[in-house]
């Protein structure tokens, strides 16, 4: 770690310490896995504060409003953010998915138009990829976009769209060539959410709450100028930045994981589970596995140039999703029979939320099965079935 990095760390730490104890003290620890809709207004305000502090788009090029920060510095930011108890980020779709996509594939006009809103923390984006018939198999997208003059008219349904009910924009994978199938004939469209043709319905989940939504496009419209990349080239555009999704955030995420595990250990100590041979064994294995994840991430970042390989992204997803899901179950087992009851009307404890919500970890963003396919075929080179 260079001296410059240590200065950068001090800068991040100082800024967060000041902001999170001051005006935004109330957002500390809010949001996060399974509590995505908590205190949305305050957290949106916090995103704008992050933006005005220049902490969004850290790694983006300076000419596009970023800081051009190194991978190491981005990691430092995520780590310090997690250590400071910064609230669950609402802008990760904006900053880590659509932003980099526009940077890589967008026109100059698109960059001028869309990047500033992301960097300022004002534009909230949601992801329009999954459909009821296109879950693990994203190339099965059936949402159609038909060109009418300068506009695309969209019809179809997206699902698992988190934050759609508050998002300003949705980046949508839609079929612009009606005769096409699979990866061909898809386009990557930026669609404004505030229009009559867009309806958002919350999905009630296993937790009883609704972080996720269905989004219905019924003659929704967006200008052709809002297409990123060529018509029919949407698959390449969408996949081009998928590895980006994780990577730098991993080490920060792990600090959150460590905190969750510490909490479970604390519960186990208080409740007596730490003295149980079986639960103690599971806890220590979780503790070891978290270290393996951390060491793996450290190694990845040491060897990474400016990005993380597909293998490492798949590997990391499989690793953390499975670990976190198992921790969720361990947490309720540590609580024991007291975890049988919830508060009225169905108000879950953090452990119960973790137990239930972490089941989505191994499904969304590429299920464990999809990650295993990727690793087996693209990394190990095993033949397709």
């Amino acid at each position: 770690m260079s001296t410059g990095d240590e200065e950068f760390r001090a800068e991040v730490r100082e800024w967060l310490a000041e902001e999170l104890t001051g005006e935004f003290a109330d957002v500390v620890g809010l949001g996060g896995s399974g509590r995505e809709d908590e205190a949305l207004d305050r957290r949106l305000a916090w995103e704008r504060r992050l933006g005005s502090g220049g902490w969004i788009g850290l790694g983006w090029p300076v000419e596009h409003g970023g800081r051009g920060a190194s991978l190491a510095q981005q990691v430092i930011f995520h780590e310090e953010y997690a250590k400071a108890g910064g609230p669950g980020r609402l802008l990760h779709m904006s900053e880590q998915l659509v932003g980099p996509t526009i940077l890589a594939f967008g026109s100059d006009e698109q960059k001028r138009r869309f990047l500033p809103g992301i960097l300022s923390g004002e534009a909230l984006w949601c992801q329009g990829y999954s459909e009821p018939g296109a879950g693990s198999d994203l190339a099965g997208v059936r949402t159609r976009a038909v060109r009418e003059g300068d506009e695309y008219v969209l019809n179809g349904q997206k699902v698992w769209t988190s934050l759609a009910h508050v998002a300003d924009w949705c980046f949508v994978l839609a079929r612009t060539d009606p005769g096409s199938s699979r990866h061909a004939g898809l386009s990557y469209l930026l669609v404004p959410m505030d229009q009559p043709g867009v309806e958002v319905r919350p999905i009630r989940q296993i937790t009883g709450t609704s972080e996720f939504n269905e989004v219905f496009f019924d003659n929704a419209r967006t200008p052709v100028a809002n297409r990123v990349g060529d018509e029919g080239d949407g698959w390449r555009v969408a996949m081009g930045t998928l590895g980006f999704e994780r990577g730098v955030a991993t080490l920060g995420q792990q600090i959150g994981f460590q905190r969750e595990l510490d909490h479970v250990v604390e519960l186990a100590r208080e409740g007596g589970a730490l003295a149980d041979q079986e639960l103690r064994g599971r806890i220590v294995q979780s503790w070891i596995d978290l270290r393996v994840m951390r060491y793996t991430a450290v190694s990845t970042l040491r060897s990474a140039g400016s990005s993380v390989s597909g293998f490492e992204a798949s590997l990391s997803k499989l690793q953390w999703a499975t670990w976190h899901r198992d921790l969720g179950e361990l947490a309720v087992d540590v609580v024991g029979p007291a975890a049988l009851t919830v508060d009225e009307p169905y108000d879950l404890s953090p452990e119960q939320t973790s137990f239930l919500f972490s089941r989505s970890d191994t499904i969304y963003g590429g299920s464990n099965e999809i990650q295993r396919n990727i690793i087996a075929e693209r990394v190990l080179g095993l033949p397709r079935g």
Binding site: R204, I206, F355
Partner: protein, 366 residues
């Protein structure tokens, strides 16, 4: 034997048809009682579920634990919210006491009532209550706090276990008395409401014969664990069946996802687990009936019951968890029923002796 098996097959079908035709699980679990009280009444009236184990001389059907287990399995398969399973266990225990001549007058009266009218019985004291010891029985009645009593807030009668080990005893308690305070608790498992029951010198009728060294309480615990094993195994079977059906029709990448070998193998492993859990529960039911002190492996009933409970609940939990993953996103929605099985699995692991606690006890036998 085969005559009984025919009878059990008929009962299985009758209960399954009844639940399929009449049970609205979603409405029931959100209702005031947490179960459908009218359905419960009809089940007692039409199918004789309440009086099933009650000896004929009290007006019951005079059937045994094997038939009760069949009913419990069907309620498990449907994850139906209902006090029927616990009522059947209590009825079985009371009937056994009657056959042994030791139920006492209140026990006999309750048996007659069970055969006659809808009576929901809840069993209190099966599940460890964090931070609390067992209920104390002394001259002044029963005192203590019991958590996680299934359908405890709405039951008409409570069967309460006091003490522990050789001092454990079973009591009948009328919940409608000043000495009993019941606090309904919303449960993680939507299909089985729980209650905290506080006893402060509650009047009670002791069912355990004096000097039985805790035998009746041990029997109750064993029957309850075996019942959980039976319902868990049946629920796991239902969960797997539904999932296999889904995998045959759900397409991704242009083919039914059930044709992907990784998913097929996972289902095969689950099928093996389910088959084992079903066999284990059935074995335990039979062993509870034969009444022999130990089986050919030298295990006694509490041991077999503990094994069955652990295996059944673990299997349901594992199967439901894997089925959730196999369903992808749709299994994560509240509308889909999978999460009911998933939550039931965790509840059954924690109720009436958690997995870690029971395995610790079993390890002590080694």
């Amino acid at each position: 034997m085969s005559e009984n098996e025919d009878l059990r097959d008929e009962m299985r079908k009758a209960v399954a048809d009844f639940l399929r035709a009449e049970s609205d699980r979603r409405a029931a679990m959100d209702g005031d009682h947490g179960y459908d009280r009218a359905l419960f009444r009809r089940g007692v009236a039409d199918l004789g579920l309440g009086g099933l184990p009650v000896p004929e001389r009290f007006g019951g059907l005079g059937l045994g634990f094997a038939e009760a287990a069949v009913v419990i399995e069907e309620f498990g398969r449907a994850v139906a919210p209902s006090p029927v399973p616990d009522t059947l266990i209590a009825g079985t225990l009371l009937s056994e006491s009657a056959d042994a001549g030791t139920p006492g007058e209140p026990g006999e009266a309750l048996l007659a009532r069970l055969a006659e009218e809808p009576v929901a019985i809840a069993v209190a004291g099966l599940t460890e209550t964090p931070g609390r010891g067992p209920v104390v029985a002394d001259g002044g009645g029963l005192s203590g706090v019991v958590g996680a009593v299934p359908h405890g807030a709405t039951a008409d009668v409570l069967l309460v276990i006091s003490g522990e080990g050789d001092d454990a005893a079973v009591h009948l308690v009328d919940p409608e008395q000043p000495g009993v305070t019941r606090t309904p608790r919303r449960a993680l498992d939507h299909t089985r409401r729980l209650a905290d029951v506080e006893l402060t010198g509650a009047r009670a009728d002791r069912l355990s014969p004096e000097g039985d060294d805790g035998a009746l309480a041990r029997r109750l615990v064993a029957l309850a664990r075996i019942a959980l094993a039976a319902e868990s195994a049946a629920a796991a079977q239902a969960c797997l069946d539904e999932t296999v059906g889904y995998l045959k029709v759900r397409e991704q990448f242009g083919r039914a996802i059930g044709s992907f070998q990784a998913l097929k193998h996972r289902c095969a492993d689950l099928a093996v687990a389910v088959h084992g859990a079903v066999a284990t529960a059935q074995y335990a039911v039979r062993f509870a009936i034969t009444g022999e002190a130990t089986d050919e492996l030298g295990d006694d009933l509490p041991t077999v019951a503990a094994v069955a409970k652990v295996v059944g609940a673990d299997t349901l939990m594992r199967v439901a968890a894997d089925c959730l993953q196999l369903h992808g996103g749709v299994g994560f929605t509240f509308e889909h029923d999978l999460h009911l099985y998933f939550k039931r699995g965790k509840a059954n692991q924690l109720l009436a002796g958690s997995g870690p606690a029971l395995r610790r006890q079993l390890a002590a036998r080694l």
